[in-house]
């Protein structure tokens, strides 16, 4: 589904990301781990064509992302709060995204109804604009918005950060359900090794912009990762 070729990103002579070859298969649940500055967000930004690669390219479903925009209809993402429109209410935001993804109000309402539990009664009909919600609640809105319109590729940067324990638990279930769908490729990055191991069937660890581990998740994966990061 996603093919990375000789990709690198350099700022003022410092290489912050260098991935020679990486293939993510359709239906895979892909976890990206690494310390601050390892290049996780840079990789996702490149994948979403928000920054330009210094060399190489990324191909998403046979579409090279920095030359064509045709990857947009089937790719959904939430990197940070700058993906939210602060002056809208959560409902308006969902409908706006729905409009852009060809979903009518009823479609969106149906999707929201299935995630009522995840919202925990704090999102919908709360008479608050997105800018006035807490960080955690903003995140909930952003994550659910990526599910609108049945995208084939879902990209979530640090989805577990700022969420309360119950919501983290529920989010894991949502991601696992997505991962079970062979049509959906999920990419998740996290600082939390345990969460990532639980939701991903493949984990890649980045260190200073390079791939240092690439493992199919198994019983020993968490130990292996803990050993690697415990320096």
């Amino acid at each position: 589904m996603i093919q990375v070729n000789n990709l690198s990103k350099t700022y003022n002579g410092t290489t912050v990301l260098k991935i020679d070859n990486l293939e993510i298969k359709k239906g895979e649940s892909f976890g990206l781990v690494g310390n601050n500055g390892a290049g996780k967000t840079t990789f996702f930004s490149l994948l979403l064509d928000l920054i330009q690669p210094s060399t190489g390219n990324i191909v998403n479903n046979d579409i090279q992302v920095n030359t064509s925009e045709n990857w947009k209809p089937f790719t959904a993402s939430f990197l940070d709060e700058s993906f939210l429109i602060g002056y809208l209410t959560p409902e308006e935001y969902f409908y706006f995204i729905g409009d852009l993804r060809g979903q009518n109000k009823a479609d969106v309402d149906a999707l929201l109804a299935t995630h009522e539990e995840f919202f925990n009664g704090e999102i919908l009909k709360n008479k608050k604009y997105l800018r006035d919600l807490s960080k955690g609640n903003q995140k909930k809105v952003g994550i659910i918005a990526t599910l609108i319109g049945n995208p084939e590729v879902i990209i979530l940067d640090e989805p577990f950060a700022n969420l309360d324990p119950t919501t983290q638990f529920r989010l894991k279930k949502i991601i696992k359900d997505l991962a079970d769908n062979p049509e959906v490729t999920v990419l998740v990055s996290s600082h939390d090794l345990l969460h990532t191991v639980e939701v991903s069937d493949r984990i890649v660890a980045l260190h200073k912009g390079e791939v240092v581990k690439d493992i199919q998740t198994s019983e020993e994966t968490l130990k292996e990762l803990e050993l690697f990061f415990a320096v």
């Binding site: 947009k72 700058s82 993906f83 429109i85 602060g86 809208l88 209410t89 308006e92 709360n126």
Partner: protein, 489 residues
Amino acid sequence: MIQKFLYLEWKAFFRSASFATNLALKILMGFVAVYFILIFLAVGVGAFYILKKMNLDPIVTVNQFMIYYVLMDLIIRLLLQKIPVMNIRPMLIFPIKKSTIVHFSLGKTVLSFFNLVHAFFLIPFCVVLIIEGYDVLSVVLWYTAIFSLLFINNFLNILLSNKDNLFAIFLAIAAVLGGLHYYGLFNITEITAPFFNAIFNTYWAFAIPVLALIALYYVTFQYFKKNLYLDAGLSNKHDVAKTEELTWLNQFGTIGTFLKNDIKLIKRNKRSKTTVGLSVMFLFYGFLFFTNSIEAYNNPVMHIFAGIFVSGGFLITFGQFVPSWDSAYYQLMMTQNIPYKGYLSSKWWLMVIATIVTTTIASFYLYFGIHVYLTIVVGAIYNIGVNSHLVLLGGAYTKTPIDLSSGKGAFGDKKAFNVKTMLISIPQLGLPVLLYWFGSKFGNPNIGLALVAGVGIIGFAFKEKAFSVIEKIYKSEKYATIAAYKQKG
């Protein structure tokens, strides 16, 4: 302690984003600042002699209109002067007395531009009074009293901030008083002038505003000290949100989706509301031209200039910041399946609708004759046909993130200044003036108007072409724009 605060202020000032512009621009702004200071000085010095020449007693005349001066000052403050409360937050947890914090933040507002600017008018005026042989003590006491009144405004504004629409209420009061005065129904100055005259003529009346100022400072101080909590005075105000569906816009497809968003954007953010307020002021700009009150404006070629401004206030103030209005969530827009054309069309329609509405409201200019209103209508045609494309084109190069929650910057953003936008803005005003001049020189004013309108219609015919050019620029500037919007001022 105050020393440490001053140190922080110094850093905040010199590290603010607006200082990070290039040297040439700083020099240019320096010139502009000097120019305005000189103008104020000239008014301050000249006021005395001009009034004298008109056979009016300068001090009596100034005292008579002082009530309007003070009222306008309060209105401008309510609209623009922001109270810096946010920087207080980090101080709360340090071992600093609350009263010190409050005294400092209140003291800081005293140095605000809105207070200092009056000195440029009042000091020269007072110096001239003294030179002309008025009693020195009287002048000094008068000066003290007037400045106390202006500082009362300063603290009133602090107490009244966070209360919406007060500005409009005060503006309405000023307008009603002015109107009643103009038509001779009721003259507020008859009541207030004796008070201001008393300040000048007696040695005791000045104490009234001074004591009032001291009392008000005390009240403000107590109020702030009592509210120095995160959930009280320092809280961010949360609006009660109402979901609006605006379903009637659904029939317009993609454009409708964006229009819905734009309408909400304008309604729910401070910055955009200020912009709309500003464009309403443009609507009345024409009075300066058509009442023949300013000599330099009193020629027909300048009138077309007014026509552009009167009908295009919103187009100019809003349009120049497309796409910066969406800067806060530009990354989202760039990852969604968004046709640039639909996005641009929605902004274009918004400007066109606003221009038509403005032109309709501007029909009160018919009072000055059909030709004046025709000028405005022609200005509107040119705005829709040509300027709407030009502002969108200029906006594509404008990479200034907009802080929607702050009203500041609506009067022109320093960082938004760049050569390309400047060049693009020349034909916005220059071309119609030139066309009109050409037409009226070699024919008559109506031919001039027809020429301007004709170019507007031609521009309208090239809408598709213009959009595809702008779209290309958007695409080529994409990464630079994303990077620029990430940097928060």
